[in-house]
Symmetry: C2
Subunit: 201 residues, 2 copies
């Protein structure tokens, strides 16, 4: 698995000079940060929201259909069809790659009740920034090709309120994206990478 090339590395010549915490909350922290960049002589000050990174996974059944979950999303006040996703909790004494992959398997099991089949495989598809002028949040993208129902079924976090989980053909997925029915950055970003890699035509 070519995992390393997709790691979020520090860009060359960028330097964080000062940081001031403006708002400190378990889920969102706001900092005002002074940056030196390789492209301008002066220091730039920017206000940014700090967030945990996350994973999003496209679970594909043996028959080629993709699993989507239907989840209540409070900040946007609606229920959305989307690929399963979850934040990464860094655990000490484990490599970052292990923690990220564990999060993929955990979200797959909790949100869809599925796990990788004997012949299944996880393909890393890079990452993306959810709003690059506003937050450092980034999401690692994966294809889980060959998933099957686990004996214990779904066990979603009660707070998340996942209402449904259903399989969709690639053609149905494409139509939902075209018609604005799928409208979250995770699912659109993952679909873009699946298209660019030729995993969906």
């Amino acid at each position: 698995m070519e995992f390393d090339k997709f790691h979020v590395e520090d860009a060359e010549g960028w330097e964080l000079r000062n940081r001031r915490m403006l708002f400190d909350h378990p889920y969102i922290k706001i900092e005002e940060i002074d940056y030196h960049t390789p492209n301008r002589p002066d220091t730039v000050t920017w206000t940014i929201a700090l967030r945990k990174s996350a994973v999003c996974v496209a679970p594909q059944l043996e028959d080629g259909r993709f699993l989507l979950i239907r989840q209540e999303r409070y900040p946007v006040r609606r229920v959305l069809w989307e690929f399963p996703a979850g934040q990464i909790d860094l655990v000490e004494r484990r490599t970052e790659q292990d923690v990220i992959l564990n999060t993929v398997h955990r979200e797959l099991a909790e949100e869809t009740g599925h796990g990788l089949s004997a012949g299944g495989e996880i393909f890393p598809l890079g990452y993306y920034f959810s709003s690059q002028g506003f937050t450092d949040e980034h999401i690692y993208l994966f294809l889980a090709r060959g998933v099957e129902l686990l004996p214990e079924g779904r066990s979603p976090d009660a707070d998340e309120n996942i209402l449904d989980c259903q399989p969709f053909t690639p053609e149905e997925l494409r139509a939902m994206i075209r018609d604005n029915e799928i409208r979250d950055a995770n699912t659109l970003g993952l679909f873009a990478r699946l298209c660019a890699h030729g995993y969906v035509s």
Copy 2:
């Protein structure tokens, strides 16, 4: 132009019961909000970041190539190739559709130095939520098919520090997405919609 169907309407049965401002800043506001939803009896409390909505546009030249800009992005501490985008400033006594379309033309001119040609056309491609568990931020997506260089050229906002603007063939765009070189939600989300509509194959 079928613009109305892509409007971010209030979803049925959702009700905002109480809101408490936790952090008030010109670019980011944080509120704690109590929601009633159609799917559960109890009220849900969630902490969300409030942000202006924005537009992102894929400018396509007569020869089929797409314009990308190369922009310094402080929160993620790197320079990214991306489609031009900008926040919407609501103006009184104008319809929301007019204001959104004006923002498309403004960003196209400022960031790429291009405008719609005589035979050019703007296609609305819906919207997406950048991080639906965290913020109400949403971005309207557009294809500007048939753009040409304006006599006055680019006039980017100095704070944004746009370093370059170049055309790329659809094949080059696809390769940059596949290789994780393009990695922002705007450009990935717009590419997903372009694929789903058949504007790129």
